[in-house]
Amino acid sequence: MSADTTAATGATDDVTLYDVDNPAPLIEAPRKRTKKTPKATRGNFEMYGWLFMRLSGIVLVVLVLGHLLIQLVLDGGVSKIGFAFVAGRWASPWWQAWDLVMLWLAMLHGANGLRTIINDYAERDNTRFWLKMLLYTATVFTVLLGTLVIFTFDPNIR
């Protein structure tokens, strides 16, 4: 393509900028597949990711809906929620385990879902990489912080 002469021809002639010898650049499709596209990678990471979305989804239906029911509907709705309510629930290992599993599954499920979305929409490899790094950092931080709180929660704190 002889695109360098564009400005020269365009300046004197405002009827048309492009002609037979000087065609306009084509709009390439995002991340075109070519002969140089890397061949298949080994490993089953994507398969496990796909399976995990479905399996964690099934468990999340019970965990999340149960959580919403307890927090927002039963026994007076939101108005009952307070420090004492949380302290009361986390006194039982059952609810500790419930919240821990829900935290881990929801975070990993949500993070993997966002990873999919980033893979879909980030056009440039650089953007893709940094968005994913941001995502992983936020995920690790939230999961660790949440886990820490569940295990070290002190009902007598002042």
Partner: protein, 252 residues
């Protein structure tokens, strides 16, 4: 008896089959502009004719510069997939009466591939994905002296995916492919399916491994756009799910 005949002739003349339909075509010519524009054409045409006939009429009688691909004109070669009224179809299999000619009919190039001119796109990335799944029979050992026999049941297993004509209607209707051309796309998976489930073929494992890739079947989000688009009525999404299932059952 003379009167009824007269009536018939008159009625036939009054009810001419021709209508005036507007075709709104997305034109792109890099030798004129770097932008594409919609151009309207009024065509006198029998609504029982096809969109391809209207395109011919425009090219031959109104504007010879209109550019599109077609070869067989009978839904077999797969060259004239285009986006008609926002849906991917073959121009040669779409009757004008079926797509409401009262309103302007929009015709544009299929999405996700580079437009070269008017309705012609660069199909190379599409065929590269096709080549990458090894769409040919792979066997080991000596060649038999007679045909490779197969039971009707074994043939039936992959019958649906043998019908593909590589028109790219499915791949260019897939939102994952629109955003990322590295994805193999439905058509490549359909053509891998055709060999993976062929009892005579011995490279199924290899093809499964290729589609187990980052850009393989796991990127499919089950939107069913491909199944809706396929002019051959192939259950494309189902074929993709069968490949996914084969990958999972192979491991466990």
């Amino acid at each position: 008896m003379a009167t009824p005949v007269m009536d018939k002739v008159e009625a036939a003349a009054a009810a001419s089959p021709y209508i005036t339909a507007t075709f709104r075509i997305r034109r792109f010519n890099p030798e004129i502009s770097d932008e594409s524009t919609w151009e309207d054409f009024q065509v006198e045409i029998d609504p029982k004719e096809r969109v391809l006939d209207a395109l011919h009429k425009i090219k031959w009688e109104l504007d010879g510069s209109l550019t599109f691909r077609r070869s067989c004109a009978h839904g077999i070669c797969g060259s004239d997939a285009m986006r008609i009224n926002g849906k991917n179809r073959l121009a040669c299999k779409t009757l004008i009466k079926d797509i409401n000619p009262e309103k302007p009919i929009t015709v544009e190039a299929i999405k996700g591939l580079t437009v070269l001119k008017d309705l012609v796109v660069d199909m190379e990335p599409f065929f590269q994905a096709y080549r990458d799944v090894m769409p040919f029979l792979v066997t080991e050992g000596n060649e038999p002296t007679r045909e490779r026999l197969q039971s009707p049941e074994d043939r039936e297993r992959f019958d649906d995916t043998t019908k593909c004509i590589l028109c790219a209607a499915c791949t260019s209707s897939c939102p994952v492919f629109w955003n990322d051309g590295q994805y193999f796309g439905p058509a490549a998976i359909v053509n891998a399916h055709r060999f993976i489930f062929d009892s005579r073929d011995e490279a199924g494992e290899q093809r499964l491994e290729i589609l187990n890739d980052r850009d393989g079947v796991w990127r499919c989000r089950t939107t069913f756009n491909c199944t809706d688009a396929c002019p051959r009525g192939i259950e494309v999404t189902k074929a993709i799910q069968e490949v996914k299932r084969a990958l999972i059952t192979r491991r466990f």
